[in-house]
């Protein structure tokens, strides 16, 4: 088994990243999980949050990328993350996020029925984004 993990980050528009890394920590719907080389095959959905990419070893400063939901697939060829959108954490505009979160909360208060679920998802999304950006 290879001692590097092949990692691909794919958005519907293009292949964002493809390369060999040491470990990736993925925010799964049922909890974060780290993927090292030789991980057992797994398919998991992702909640909005940051993935952490460790390029060469455990002691690296991880590269953090915000993923707005999607799913991860671990197979014999490594880890593939399918994300609808991905932003490096450093590029998140904290103020814009705060504003968007405020608007989303505003709509949530007024929303009902189907719109409620959508509004809740939006709030959760921006909350996650903010949490990631601040840390």
């Amino acid at each position: 088994m290879a001692d590097v993990l092949h990692f691909e980050l794919v958005s519907p528009e293009k292949l964002l990243r493809s390369g060999d890394v040491y470990m990736v920590v993925v925010p799964g719907t049922e909890g974060d999980f780290g993927v090292l080389p030789g991980h057992a095959p797994l398919v998991s959905t992702i909640r909005p949050g940051a993935i952490q990419v460790f390029p060469t070893s455990m002691n690296d400063v991880p590269e953090r990328i915000f993923i707005d939901g999607g799913f991860a697939e671990v197979g014999p060829n490594g880890l593939t993350i399918l994300a609808e959108s991905a932003t490096p954490v450093g590029e998140i505009d904290v103020e814009a996020t705060a504003r968007a979160l405020a608007t989303a909360r505003e709509t949530l208060r007024a929303a009902s029925g189907d719109a409620l679920t959508a509004a809740e998802a939006r709030v959760a999304r921006f909350e996650a984004m903010q949490a990631v950006a601040v840390n």
Binding site: P12, E13, T29, P41, V43, S44, T45, T80, L82, E84
Partner: protein
């Protein structure tokens, strides 16, 4: 016979038309390349998606418990036809071909006593359907022309479709668009969106892969939950792909159409130039005859 001056003006006007069509052809060619690249770039995502869907599909048996998007409503009384056309014209028979395919399907379904609803993406489709199936149109969505198609646009359409589905507005959804074969060939195509057609799972290639058989895949959360999460995404991905292919097809069709127009303009110019020269010579001959006749009579 048109006067010399009128002929000259016509030739000049056709020449400038030719210049425009030539420029449009080149623009379409450049945009075609870009949209082909976009389609290419989107391939990894949809391929992975299809692979995961297939492996999920082989594990989940479709039953009444399955998500509605997969199993359908159990009826097929109302059809929603999602027709993706372009925002602009001047692309030969591009939009006509898609519309014709969709219209034929709509008429066929109506003849069977089904209800047909139309969801149109792209302005050109609306113009065509307003004439024949005005009552069937439930919504029209505008696409952004020119700029690369964004996944967000596809999500809007997908959300619209799913929203209507959950409100029981239709039982079966079909997508109409133009598949991109090459710059010269575009093929109007139908894809069934709901109930979702799961791609066939690729057979494990035992001949080439030696070693231990692949371990069972873990699913987190379970298969059904993942499937329920993936189905709407898959719908958006399918629509996105259709939009990309449609865009590439559009520019392909436009390129061909503009190439034909340029050539046609060239032909007309040649013909008119011949007429122009003949007329000019005839005028000179007439003048000469008049001069000679005048000289003789002296």
């Amino acid at each position: 016979m048109a006067s010399l001056k009128a002929l000259k003006l016509r030739i000049a006007s056709i020449k400038s038309t030719q210049k425009i069509t030539k420029a449009m052809k080149m623009v379409a060619a450049a945009k075609l390349r870009r949209s082909q690249e976009a389609a290419e770039a989107a391939r990894p995502y949809s391929e992975r998606m299809a692979a995961v869907m297939a492996s999920l599909g082989s594990r989940v048996t479709v039953g009444p418990e399955s998500p509605k998007l997969l199993a359908g409503t159990g009826a097929d009384q109302t059809y929603l036809l999602v027709v993706v056309t372009s925002e602009r014209g001047l692309a030969g028979g591009f939009n006509t071909n898609i519309v014709r395919l969709a219209r034929r399907r709509a008429d066929e379904l109506m003849a069977q006593g089904k209800t047909v609803k139309l969801l149109l993406a792209g302005r050109k489709g609306r113009a065509a359907f307003v004439r024949t199936h005005r009552d069937a149109i439930v919504d029209t969505l505008d696409l952004i022309h020119g700029k690369a198609q964004q996944f967000a646009d596809a999500q809007v359409i997908a959300a619209n479709v799913i929203d209507r589905f959950t409100r029981d507005e239709f039982d079966v959804a079909e997508l109409f668009f133009s598949r991109f074969r090459s710059a010269l060939v575009q093929e109007p195509t139908t894809v069934r969106l709901i109930p979702a057609a799961l791609p066939e799972a690729a057979k494990p290639d035992t001949a080439t892969t030696s070693g231990p058989p692949p371990a069972a895949i873990e699913y987190e959360p379970d298969e059904e939950a993942i499937l329920a999460d993936l189905l709407p995404r898959n719908l958006a991905v399918q629509i996105f792909r259709a939009m990309l292919e449609n865009q590439a097809s559009f520019f392909g069709a436009q390129m061909t159409a503009m190439d034909n127009a340029t050539r046609n303009a060239g032909d007309i110019i040649t013909r008119l130039t011949i007429v122009y020269n003949r007329t000019r010579q005839a005028a000179i001959t007439t003048e000469l005859i008049e001069i000679i006749a005048g000289a003789e009579s002296l």
